[in-house]
């Protein structure tokens, strides 16, 4: 007893209790399961973002070669120091939890897959391609890359292979309206005085991320006006000069109504009208869509339509643009507006870009590329998709329509495990940004062709392929020849060919200025400027470049636009809603939870915007769960009551639908609820809403 007492007292005069107290507190400050940052030399390097086609120049701060943060390169002609939300997190994609480590073969329709070895998958793909079952279609979500050229070569060399470059849907339609090939297209937004935007998230990662800043900077000088048409006051709508709230699905009617006013009041470009072969028929057709006739369906007052049409005609050059998820008829109607205004091929309109001068490297047989729209329904037996790039998405519904029912094989190149496992048979793991050399075509909102390069700085995991290697692998499997060489060699050849053309300007991040390519002494100098995050931009096409002959009515006959009979005032509609294109469908960094799950700044998966009046009428409070039922199925979502959205329309998030897991492809996917348009986009669909009580 006394001994214990003595020890206890003695203990207080030793370091034991105090040091243990101290060190155990320090232990909590350095828990071994909390990761610590890397240590090593702190440097930086420049590169180009490959998440979308905008080709933003970015500077990576890095520990050794490992990027730890990304920022835009100031002065860059495309992004001028800005990046989009996904771009800032591009260095995380390499470590995405759903990153595919080895090839997978899926049991069709189930979502269950088994891993394959790299050699087996090549054998199986080879057997599959040579099975002589029917047409093989290669879809290229981002034309203009070196890999695209190789895919194109496959299409030219092999009779069974069709190469389909996927450009913006509006441009696809414009191509079909022109009697002669138009070549590469882009929007010359910088040159436009008036911009009428049919729902494109102009200020939210649709084009270059510096676009919002550029438009705001013109406000002081009032050199550019932006009119935004959308059913909710989105980020882009609220920052535009004018917002026209139109019912979802009425964009095509509204555009045709603008065209109607232009024709009625003879506000169209006479020169442009002369090039339209079926102008008379078109004029007759368009008169059906008078502002008064369209007003009811669109919810837009006739005076607004007339004023907008007059502005569109008078504030030349005026440009109408449309989002990438727009329906075929919207694209056709909006492009018809540009044609009527005579701004196709003109400054401030739809720009016709010169092709990249790389014919020396990739000679083309001149076979016109096929559009997916022209491929007959239910005809594709084997589909090859290059999904190695984030940000380019294809409509599942459209693919389903084009594939041979139940018996089609899809072969996908993808970095992530969750790309369409329900209908894909083979997924070949691909490299991601920072692991591979890649060249990037220019943004949709640039008037000229361009090229930028993203270099490989980190070692790709074993067994990963980039798109060029994938094309070469397919070539070997098909017995066709494709350009040989490593990706870097091929891209370098392309750059050398551009240098040889002496066309355009080059932006070098090291100096921060753009200079004429003619002053660039060697191809190596051009290469090093591009490799550190610079870009080459072609000269603008000179003079009047308007298309010589157009035929419009084919497209409108296909579109079958009609005025809705009567509008039931109590009917609710559901619309799939993606706030920004970059999050749509492809995996993004898990850190984007900051803007959705952790803050509610943007909708998360299974959330929907509901107008307060709509919610109140059905006793739904903010945050409550609602069940949505259409004739196609039903799903439950969380209601986010928001006064900026149109009453009687439920905007359901599709962001990240493919992120989570295979089970996300069950009937709970909002896209399966909605009616599908001709081009795979979704129209607003009548829906019934029930409050779900826990």
């Amino acid at each position: 007893m006394q001994f214990v007492g003595g020890s206890a007292l003695g203990l207080l005069f030793t370091p034991i209790p105090w040091k243990v107290l101290n060190d155990s507190a320090i232990w909590t400050q350095n828990w071994p399961w909390i990761p610590a940052p890397l240590t090593g030399e702190f440097t930086s390097f420049g590169t180009t973002c490959t998440l979308c086609q905008s080709a933003c120049g970015m500077r990576a701060r890095s520990v050794g070669k490992q990027p730890v943060s990304l920022s835009g390169i100031p002065g860059h002609p495309f992004n001028n120091g800005s990046l989009c939300t996904a771009g800032i997190l591009a260095h995380h994609l390499r470590y995405h939890p759903s990153r595919l480590r080895q090839p997978i073969k899926f049991l069709p329709g189930t979502g269950y897959g088994t891993p394959l070895s790299s050699t087996t998958v090549v054998d199986e793909i080879s057997r599959c391609l040579n099975g002589n079952r029917g047409p093989v279609v290669i879809l290229d979500g981002r034309p203009g890359r070196t890999a695209s050229a190789l895919f194109g070569q496959l299409g030219e060399a092999h009779p069974a292979v069709r190469y389909i470059p996927m450009s913006a849907p509006a441009f696809d339609v414009l191509h079909t309206m022109s009697d002669a090939p138009l070549g590469p297209l882009g929007y010359d937004i910088d040159g436009a005085r008036l911009l009428v935007n049919f729902g494109a998230p102009l200020f939210d990662a649709w084009g270059t991320p510096s676009r919002a800043s550029k438009v705001m900077d013109t406000r002081a000088s009032k050199t550019q006006t932006v009119i935004h048409v959308e059913a909710l006051c989105s980020r882009s709508a609220s920052r535009s000069d004018q917002w026209i709230a139109a019912r979802p699905g009425s964009e095509a009617l509204l555009a045709l109504s603008l065209a109607c006013v232009m024709i009625e009041e003879k506000l169209y470009s006479a020169a442009a009208a002369r090039t339209i072969g079926d102008f008379g028929e078109f004029s007759d057709y368009i008169r059906t869509f008078s502002p008064e006739a369209v007003s009811g369906a669109s919810g837009v007052r006739p005076e607004t339509i007339r004023t907008t049409a007059r502005a569109f005609a008078s504030q030349s050059p005026a440009l109408a643009i449309v989002g990438n998820d727009a329906s075929y008829e919207t694209c056709a109607a909006v492009m018809a507006l540009n044609i009527l205004a005579g701004t196709v091929g003109h400054t401030g309109g739809v720009a016709r870009r010169n092709a990249i001068p790389d014919a020396a490297v990739f000679p083309s047989s001149g076979v016109r590329a096929v559009s997916l729209h022209d491929v007959p329904d239910h005809s594709i037996c084997t589909l090859i998709i290059d999904e190695s790039l984030s940000g380019c998405t294809l409509s599942d519904a459209l693919l389903e329509k084009k594939l041979v029912p139940k018996d089609a094989t899809i072969i996908s190149l993808s970095p992530f495990v969750t790309s369409r496992p329900y209908c894909t048979q083979y997924v070949v793991p691909s490299t991601v940004m920072f692991e591979t050399m890649s060249d990037v075509p220019g943004p949709i909102d640039a008037a000229v062709s361009s090229l930028a390069v993203s270099a490989a700085v980190l070692q790709a995991p074993d067994g990963m392929m980039d798109a060029v290697q994938f094309a070469q692998m397919l070539g070997r499997a098909l017995g066709s020849t494709t350009a040989s060489g490593t990706t870097e060699e091929l891209v370098k050849q392309r750059v050398a060919a551009i240098h040889a053309s002496k066309r355009g300007t080059v932006f070098a991040p090291s100096t921060g200025v753009s200079t004429a390519l003619q002053q660039c002494a060697s191809a190596d100098e051009l290469w090093s400027a591009l490799a550190e995050g610079g870009c080459w931009m072609d000269d603008a096409a000179r003079g009047d470049n308007a298309p010589a002959a157009m035929t419009l009515m084919n497209a409108f006959r296909a579109a079958q636009i009609s005025l809705p009979q009567s509008h039931n005032v109590d009917q609710l509609f559901v619309v799939p809603f993606a706030e920004t294109t970059i999050y749509n469908g492809t995996p993004v960094s898990p850190l984007l939870s900051k803007v959705s799950q952790e803050s509610g700044l943007r909708l998360s998966l299974r959330q929907a915007y509901v107008n307060p009046a709509t919610a109140m009428a059905r006793s739904v409070a903010n945050g409550e769960t609602i069940s949505l039922t259409t004739k196609n199925g039903s799903m439950t979502v969380q209601a986010k009551v928001d006064a900026s959205v149109m009453p009687d329309v439920i905007f359901v998030s599709i962001a990240g639908s493919r992120e989570s897991s295979v089970s996300a492809h069950s009937a709970h996917d909002v896209r399966l609820l909605c009616n599908v348009n001709e081009n795979g986009s979704f129209s607003s669909t009548p829906v019934s809403l029930q409050k779900v009580t826990a």
């Binding site: 003695g10 005069f13 370091p15 320090i26 350095n30 030399e41």
Partner: protein
């Protein structure tokens, strides 16, 4: 004559004191040998001719290179210069295999501390010995001692458990930083050092 109760009490007291002051400090730390026995003495001064900053340099952006990477060693020792067994390990195990040497860093700061050698060496003009003592003239590398609870190097607490009568380089606890800042009338705000 002491009562037996008191005796037992004193025995307990003595027992605790011995355990606390002799056994505990020894048992608290785990010892590790460095991968190579490096002699600062051979490399510096008249024999080697190198100064501290030749290997431990401050980069132009103010970041400190800390313990030099293998590249630095290899710039002289691409093949063996002398005959020592330690140099042979360096060349055979690390330089020729291009493997970084897993040095155990005595003065390693916790990751919540931002210590700028640039401001202490270039602005305050402190000598290396102020904090690192005679490490630069040592002939061999003492074992690295790691606190079993906190994981810190023993150099943070200092060589003596009581922390009485220490030299300026013996210990690098926050108190030591603060005292030096106080003496030199430098601010002792949290953000001065913590990140």
């Amino acid at each position: 004559m002491l009562k037996p109760g008191l005796l037992r009490f004193l025995a307990g007291l003595f027992f605790s004191l011995v355990i606390g002051w002799y056994v505990f400090p020894y048992a608290l730390y785990e010892k590790f040998e460095q991968p190579i026995q490096f002699s600062h003495k051979v490399h510096t001064g008249e024999t080697g001719g190198l100064s501290c900053t030749d290997c431990h340099e401050i980069k132009s952006d103010g970041r400190f290179s800390g313990i030099p990477a293998l590249e630095k060693c290899a710039s002289c020792h691409s093949s063996a210069i002398g005959t020592s067994s330690q140099e042979k390990i360096l060349v055979d195990e690390y330089v020729s295999k291009n493997r970084e040497i897993p040095w155990l860093i005595y003065a390693k700061q916790p990751q919540n501390v931002y210590f700028s050698h640039a401001s202490h060496v270039k602005l305050a003009a402190l000598e290396c010995t102020e904090c690192h003592g005679s490490h630069g003239s040592s002939d061999s590398l003492r074992p690295f001692q790691r606190n079993r609870i906190s994981g810190y190097s023993r150099d943070i607490w200092g060589s003596t458990m009581s922390r009485i009568n220490r030299a300026s380089w013996d210990g690098a606890k926050m108190d030591d930083c603060e005292n030096c800042h106080d003496r030199r009338h430098v601010a002792n705000t949290c953000l001065k050092c913590h990140k």
